[in-house]
Amino acid sequence: MQIIISALDYVYNWARSNSVWPLTFATSCCGIEMICTSASKYDIARFGSEVFRPSPRQADLIITAGTITHKMAPALVRLYEQMPEPKYVIAMGACTVTGGMYENDSYSVVRGVDRLIPVDVYLPGCPPRPEALLDAVIQLQKKMRTETLLDRKKYIEAHKPRVKMPEGDSELLLPCDEIEIVRWGV
């Protein structure tokens, strides 16, 4: 049984890790580097990720390219929830890793996208070079190849959003009671 599943895993992971379809999601200047990565000079198509989907329902990967503000946060969480399992997140740029230059005093910026959704690969830089984004995609592919179908339930449990969607007329995301609030940094 174990042998069959591991053989199945190998084929399954080989297929899906070589066709990671990202979502077209760019909120600021990192998006320019993402566009550049998909263009002919750097050519993300070499890694099977050239199909930027306009709809989250067809995407496997969300590259959060750019600052996430409180106004944008509910939209990001909703897009993430609409993506089919298995789904992956690359936090691209300093703003989505820790808040970046808005970390100390900003009133409107979310301090790192990992407060909202679980992140697979952190990619620092302001903005990162296209080579760095390609490296992040390769790291993600390596991670995908280590996964097994047996752990799927555990995986889905770990990939829930970390905040609650607002209720009623509110537009502010609320803390989720079930999951501990992430506290790290200085």
Partner: protein, 152 residues
Amino acid sequence: MSFYEFLNNHGIDYSQEQEASGGVVLSIKKEDLLACCEILKTDRLFNYDMLLSVTGMDCRTHFEILYDLYSTRSHSRLSLKIKTDRVNPNVESLYSLYSSADWHERECFDLLGIEFVNHPNLERILLPKDWIGHPLRKDYNQEDERLCWNKR
């Protein structure tokens, strides 16, 4: 006719004038704003027919609002500066003259809490609807318990 003669002829009460790099800056009274803009917009010679931006400033004792006007006929710029109180700040909306005032005034209301009287849809534009406080005020302190997941 020079510009200052024009202002005096129409009885516009400007208390201070200074030449900035972009053009003239006039300080006028808050109550005269709408009438003054109407004269400046309808005049055939100067014809300031475009509102470029509405900027609010917190000067601790009072708020200042800067209106940047542009004339597509004479290609000149003019800035009008008004003052309003810090407690219950309010000023007449310019939406009836310039429709571009709509979003600029909403932004000013959102970030500084200045009320624009007779504005058609004065609500927050950049921040979430149920945000507490106005962030660009000097005494703003973010103490919203709902955002505890965002604390450092």
